[in-house]
Amino acid sequence: MSNSKYATLMLGITVLLALMVLTALCLGRYSINPIDVWNVLKAKLVGEATPDEAMHNILFLVRLPRVAASLLIGAALSLSGAIYQSIFRNPLISPDFIGVSSGASVGASAAIVMGLSLQTVQLFAFTGGVLAVLLAASIPKLMRNSSNLMLVLSGIIISGFMDAIIGILRFTSRESDQLAAIVFWQMGSLAKLDTAQLFSITPPILAALILMIALSWRINILSFGEQEAKTLGLNVTRLRTLAILCASLMTACAVCVSGKIGWIGLIIPHFGRLIGGSDNTKLMPLTALLGGAFMLLIDTLARTLTSAEIPLSILTGLMSAPFFVWLLSRNRLKVL
C-alpha cells in the first residue's frame, strides 16, 4: 500500500471514528441529541458555564469515560494481537488464544478475592499475563516442535488451565459481590467502569503503544524469523522480550478494566492486514484505530441493545466467528 493511499485510509477511519464517538455519546437510556452534545462539549472546552447540568454529568461522568475506555481497550487488545502474531510468526494467535487474557484474569481475580488495592490488581493481572505467555511459549520448546499448530495448541492448554483456576476461585468465593466480579471478569464488560481505573491504565497503555509503533519496522524484521533478524544485526532476544512485555502489559491493563474480551485481538489485526498489508509500520497504527472503533461499536451495542448490559464477549464472538470463517475460506491464512 502506497503512503498516500495509507494516509487517505487513516484519515477516512479517523473521520468515521469521530462520528462514531459522537453517536455513542448521544445514545443511551437517556438519549441526548447531537446538537446538545456538541454544545455541552464546546462549553466545557472554552470554559463556559454548562448549558445543562444533567447532560453535563451524563456526558462527562458516564459516557465520555466509557467511550475513552472502549477506544483504549480496543486499541490495546488489537495491537497486542498484531504484536504476538508478528513475533511468534503465527497469524493464528491473539492475547486470548495464547492464554494472556486468561492469565491476566486469574491474576486480577486472585487479587480481588484477596481484597487488594486497584494498583495491586493491575500488577497481579500483568504478572498473570506474562506468566501465561511464557508458559505457552515454553511448551513448544519442551516438545521440540516449533510449528504454528503446536503454539496454538499450547495456548489452548494454558487458557484451559487458567480458566480452570478462575473456576476454582469462583467456586470457593463465598461473597456474592466477589462472585459477580469474577463472572464479569470472564465475559468482559465496561458497565462498572470507574474513572480512577481508566486514569490508571491510560499511561501504561499509551507508553507501550508508542514504544511498539516506534519499533514497528524492527518488528517487521523479527517477523521474518529469528535467524534472518540476527544476521541483520538485531538483538533478537532483547527486542522479543520487550515486545512480549509491552503486548502483555497492554492486554493486562485492558483486562483489569473490562475483564476478558475474546476475539478482538485475533480478527482486528487480520482485518488490518486485509485492507492495509502486513507492514507493521502501517499495520500497527491502523490496527490500533480499527480496534478502538470496533470496541466502541461493540460497547455501544452492549449498553443500548437491551435494557440489561450484554457481556462484551458475547457480541465480539457473535460478530467475529463468522468473519474468521470467511477469512479462512478465502484462503488468506495458509498457516498450518
Binding site: S223, G225, E228, L232, G233, G277, S278
Partner: protein, 259 residues
C-alpha cells in the same frame, strides 16, 4: 582484512560434524564450498556468521575475535543469504529488500528515500525490477532466492555468505547469479557460497573448500583441487572431469547410469 577460522570443531550430540577445521576467507575472492549432503556446509556458514556456536576453535575477523563483536557489527561485516525462506506474512518485495539497511540505521529509525533508492539499485542489479512491487509471498522459491541476494546487496557487508544460492534457480538464473558472484568479488566483496554443483567453482575459479563425510576440510585453488579422483571419492560415485576444448575450461559430468 580477512576472516580466519582456526581449529574449529562442531558436533550435534555425539555426531562430530566438523573436525579440526582451518580456513581463511579473503576479500575480493570467491570461496566455493563443496560437500555431500549432511557434511556440515550450512553449519560452517552459520558458525562463521555467528548463528551457531562451535564446540571449540576460534573465528577471527580482521584481528577481532567473534566474541568481541556485537550482532550489529557482525551484520555490517557479513551478510548471509539462507537457502530457504518461508515467509509468515506478506510484504512487498521492495519493503523486504530495504530491510538490508537495518544494521546501518538507528534502532528507532526507519528507512528513508536514500535507503529505498539503495534497495532499488540492488533490485536492478539482480534484474528483478518486475518483482519490486509484487507480494513476497506470491513469488516462487527461485525468485525469493534472487530477492534475498538483492537484500544482501542493500546490506553492503564486506563479506557475503550464501547457502546454495543457485539451488532453486533455473539454468539462466544460475548463470546470472554466478556472474553476479564474480562481479561482486571483482568489486572487492569476499564471497563464500555452498553448492552441490562442481561446475560452479570450475566456472568461477577462485578457491574451493571440500568438506567430506568425516568432517575434514581440503582447501585449494578450485582448478587444482577439483579432480576426478577427489570428486569420485567425495560423492562415492564415478565422475568424469574433462577439459572442454571449445570453451577452454573443465567440466564435470556423470559418465553413465550403468552401475
Amino acid at each position: 582484512m580477512s576472516i580466519e577460522i582456526r581449529k574449529l570443531h562442531f558436533s550435534y550430540g555425539d555426531h562430530e560434524v566438523l573436525r579440526n577445521l582451518d580456513l581463511r576467507i579473503e576479500p575480493a575472492e570467491v570461496l566455493s564450498i563443496l560437500g555431500p549432503n549432511g557434511a556440515g556446509k550450512t553449519t560452517l556458514l552459520k558458525i562463521i556468521v555467528g548463528l551457531a556456536k562451535p564446540a571449540s576453535g576460534s573465528i577471527v575477523y580482521d584481528d577481532l575475535p567473534q566474541e568481541r563483536l556485537n550482532l550489529r557489527q557482525l551484520a555490517q561485516l557479513m551478510g548471509y543469504v539462507p537457502q530457504m525462506i518461508t515467509p509468515a506474512f506478506d510484504f512487498r518485495v521492495i519493503d523486504y529488500v530495504v530491510t538490508g539497511v537495518a544494521p546501518h540505521i538507528g534502532t528507532f529509525e526507519r528507512p528513508g528515500k536514500t535507503h529505498y533508492d539503495k534497495a532499488m539499485r540492488a533490485i536492478e542489479e539482480m534484474h528483478i525490477v518486475h518483482l519490486a512491487e509484487k507480494s513476497y509471498m506470491q513469488i516462487s522459491d527461485g525468485e525469493r532466492q534472487l530477492v534475498s541476494i538483492a537484500r544482501v546487496l542493500a546490506q553492503e557487508p564486506s563479506y557475503i555468505l550464501m547457502d546454495e544460492p543457485t539451488s532453486h534457480l533455473d539454468y539462466g538464473n544460475q548463470l546470472r547469479v554466478l556472474q553476479i558472484i564474480r562481479r561482486l568479488s571483482e568489486s572487492g566483496f569476499g564471497i563464500v557460497f555452498t553448492t552441490h554443483n562442481p561446475d560452479n567453482p570450475l566456472l568461477l575459479g577462485g578457491k574451493t573448500a571440500i568438506i567430506n563425510r568425516r568432517g575434514e576440510l581440503f582447501y585449494g585453488n578450485s582448478l587444482e583441487l577439483i579432480r576426478e579422483d577427489v570428486l569420485s571419492e567425495l560423492y562415492g560415485i564415478r565422475l568424469t572431469v574433462t577439459s572442454e576444448v571449445s570453451t577452454g575450461r573443465s567440466i564435470c559430468y556423470m559418465p553413465s547410469l550403468a552401475e
